[in-house]
């Protein structure tokens, strides 16, 4: 019999019940909750007179609607405020293991606070009403986004109705060049397999490059698995995983720690395991990436020129290039390095962890944001990240260079609070989606790594961070 993949092991260790057609009930260990996708779920629970099955599985925190400055003024938009207060009330009524209300010193983006508090552990199943839950797969946890009806289902039953996905191995061999990051690896993978390439799959990331990534880098990579269409991304846990978790607030302690690490060591794909699909990339060939269109797969290495629809034979693809160029206000064949920018956003659950901020600060240090940049902002992923960055003096580096240093939250990743692009504005962003209107109606988003965003802020246009 062939060996098992990491995904097989995680799946099999959580099956509670299986129907004849393969539909399963999967036990859920960790339930992350934020204010946008939970109100209707709690309301449903209340209306049916149900209680959460195990409220100690819940880690909750508002992040999408919270402002990133002037916290003393509270949340000015009354609709946003109501949504955040609704979460406060729901947690008060139903309970949670961890809750960081607005303005708490540890509040942050849910996908940043889960791991940093040791509430995301290898071998777990993790869900959240948020597609970027795939982030937590960096720890060797089976983690994916769910809809609001499923949030209610998990609250009420501690299980999810699911069918097993197919398995894909994305192996990145070799070594990354200087200035090339996990974000570039993620974008290069999406550029190769497309935004639907991972649909129906759980992707395991492996190979020398992945082993070489820090936990922060692995989180960046798994975060973007959903942009490749895969609900779940996975990296097998190793010494780095254990080293990251040891001593964190909710990580196992004492005897449990030893037992846990021993168990985590079994969580990798067997040598003779087979995958439904295998994709291989060479790390040395990956250059810093920049998206030019309105889908993450519309991405190119720095040094390229914007595509020409006239050269595309396929009619559907040609139309989508034309639509994207029109929306993005770009002319075919323009060199990417000539694209001038208006705003810079360094943040989001993709790239707002301490390592991301260190990398951006190292590029910005001693330099000034270009005069054509109307706003360059750095939004740390959580209170903990913010404090750490300040202890290292990163805030000063950013402020001296002309960046704004903000309070943690989702911010301009999706512009539900007041941080947003105006119509036609062009932004280099470290977030994960460049969809039309994502950062504000009519706003134009180019996805890049923190280093590339910082270098673009200094130059006023995209540059190759390797030669900046």
């Amino acid at each position: 019999m062939a060996g098992k993949t990491l995904y097989d092991k995680l799946w099999e260790s959580h099956v509670v019940h299986e129907e004849a057609d393969g539909t399963c009930l999967i036990y859920i260990d960790r339930h992350l909750v934020h204010e946008v996708t939970s109100p209707q779920a709690f309301e449903g629970l209340r209306m049916a007179g149900r209680k959460p099955w195990r409220n100690s599985s819940i880690v909750a925190n508002p992040d999408h609607n919270t402002p990133t400055k002037d916290w003393d003024k509270g949340i000015e938009d009354p609709i946003s405020r109501l949504q955040v207060e609704t979460l406060d009330n729901n947690i008060k009524e139903f309970g949670a293991l961890v809750y960081f209300p607005f303005k708490n010193k540890d509040q942050g983006i849910i996908h940043v606070i889960g791991p940093e508090n040791g509430t995301t552990l290898p071998g777990m199943t993790v869900v959240c009403g948020d597609s970027h839950t795939s982030t937590h797969g960096a720890f060797g946890a089976l983690a994916h986004g769910i809809g609001t009806s499923e949030v209610e289902h998990v609250l009420a039953t501690q299980t999810l109705v699911a069918k097993k996905s197919k398995s894909m191995l994305v192996r990145v061999d070799g070594k990354l060049g200087k200035g090339v990051t996990a974000k570039d690896v993620a974008l290069a993978i999406i550029g190769k397999i497309g935004t639907a390439g991972g649909t129906g799959y759980a992707i395991e990331f492996g190979g020398e490059v992945i082993r070489g990534l820090s936990m922060e880098g692995r989180m960046t990579l798994c975060n973007m698995a959903i942009e490749a269409g895969a609900r779940a991304g996975l990296v097998a846990p190793d010494e780095k995983t254990a080293a990251y978790l040891e001593g964190r607030l909710h990580a196992p302690k004492g005897d449990n720690w030893t037992k846990a690490v021993a168990y985590w060591n079994t969580l990798s794909s067997d040598a003779d395991a087979t995958f439904d699909t295998v994709v291989v990339l060479n790390g040395a060939e990956i250059a810093p990436q920049v998206t030019w269109g309105t889908s993450p797969e519309q991405v190119l290495p720095i040094g390229s020129t914007v595509p020409d629809p006239a050269k595309e034979a396929d009619a559907t693809k040609r139309t989508s290039i034309e639509n994207a160029l029109k929306y993005m206000g770009l002319t075919a064949n323009t060199p990417i390095e000539q694209i001038q920018l208006d705003k810079i956003f360094i943040g989001s659950c993709t790239n707002s962890r301490i390592e991301d901020l260190r990398a951006a600060a190292s590029v910005a240090k001693g330099k000034k944001v270009a005069s054509n940049i109307k706003l360059a902002m750095v939004v740390p992923g959580s209170g903990q990240v913010k404090r750490q960055a300040e202890a290292e003096g990163l805030d000063k580096i950013f402020i001296e260079a002309g960046f704004e240093w903000r309070e943690p939250g989702c911010s301009m990743c999706l512009a539900m609070n007041s941080d947003r692009l105006s119509p036609g504005e062009r932004c280099a962003s470290t977030s994960n989606r460049n969809f039309e209107g994502r950062q504000g109606p009519g706003g134009r988003t180019h996805l890049v790594s923190p280093e590339m965003a910082a270098a673009a802020a200094i130059a006023g246009h995209f540059v190759d961070v390797r030669s900046a």
């Binding site: 129907e19 057609d21 539909t23 009930l25 946008v36 809809g147 609001t148 539900m416």
Partner: protein, 212 residues
């Protein structure tokens, strides 16, 4: 959940690939704490020429006449015909809520994003995967014939065109049963409460740190 059995519905063709959830329902509408009332904001940025805010009266907003949903011949459509990777992006269930609230009960596309696909079933919407050629044919026929309707029969798992051409589609038996009967999934799962409890005890004994 609303049951779904059969439908003979007008088709609205949305000829774009990779329609994402930000396009289906822009984020400003996600601030609502309700489940209903999203229909008028479906495809808001394509549908209207001004910027939509939650609570706006959409009957007085300027429409984009080029957008398919605004064309008179597609008013009252119940079947949405779409291209590859429909519903990609976020997990927001507001997307199927908006689609359902607008009156659609069936979406036909060559492929769907996973989370969106799953969310449809929770809201009485039937997402049908058809081959790219099949979808292409439907687009052509739909553009060519005003009042183009499709007959969808969930029990038989078939879609039939006005000319009597028919093709079948796949659905798991569990989903089919739940959709045909409009069953409450939480209630069904709780029938297995003893099994869940037994699993939980075993799981806790093996990995006590998960329950700390």
């Amino acid at each position: 959940m609303k049951a779904f059995t059969t439908l003979n519905g007008l088709v609205c063709p949305l000829d774009r690939a990779n329609v994402d959830t930000d396009a289906i329902i822009p984020k400003q509408f996600l601030k609502s704490i309700k489940r209903s009332g999203f229909g008028p904001y479906l495809f808001d940025e394509w549908r209207y020429t001004n910027y939509g805010e939650p609570g706006m009266d959409c009957s007085t907003r300027p429409l984009n006449p080029d957008f398919v949903l605004n064309q008179p011949r597609y008013q009252g459509a119940q079947v949405l015909l779409a291209r590859d990777n429909f519903g990609c992006g976020s997990s927001r269930e507001h997307a199927p809520w908006a689609i359902e609230d607008q009156g659609f009960r069936v979406i036909i596309a060559p492929s769907f994003a996973d989370i969106f696909f799953n969310n449809c079933y929770k809201n009485g919407i039937l997402p049908i995967v058809a081959s790219a050629e099949q979808v292409d044919t439907l687009f052509k026929e739909c553009f060519a014939n005003e009042g183009y309707k499709l007959n969808v029969d969930l029990e038989a798992q078939t879609v039939t065109t006005p000319s009597g051409q028919s093709f079948s589609f796949d659905i798991t038996p569990t989903r089919k049963h739940n959709l045909l009967n409009g069953l409450d999934e939480i209630g069904l799962t709780l029938q297995h409460a003893d099994k869940i409890k037994a699993f939980e005890e075993k799981h806790q004994a093996a990995q006590p740190w998960l329950f700390a």
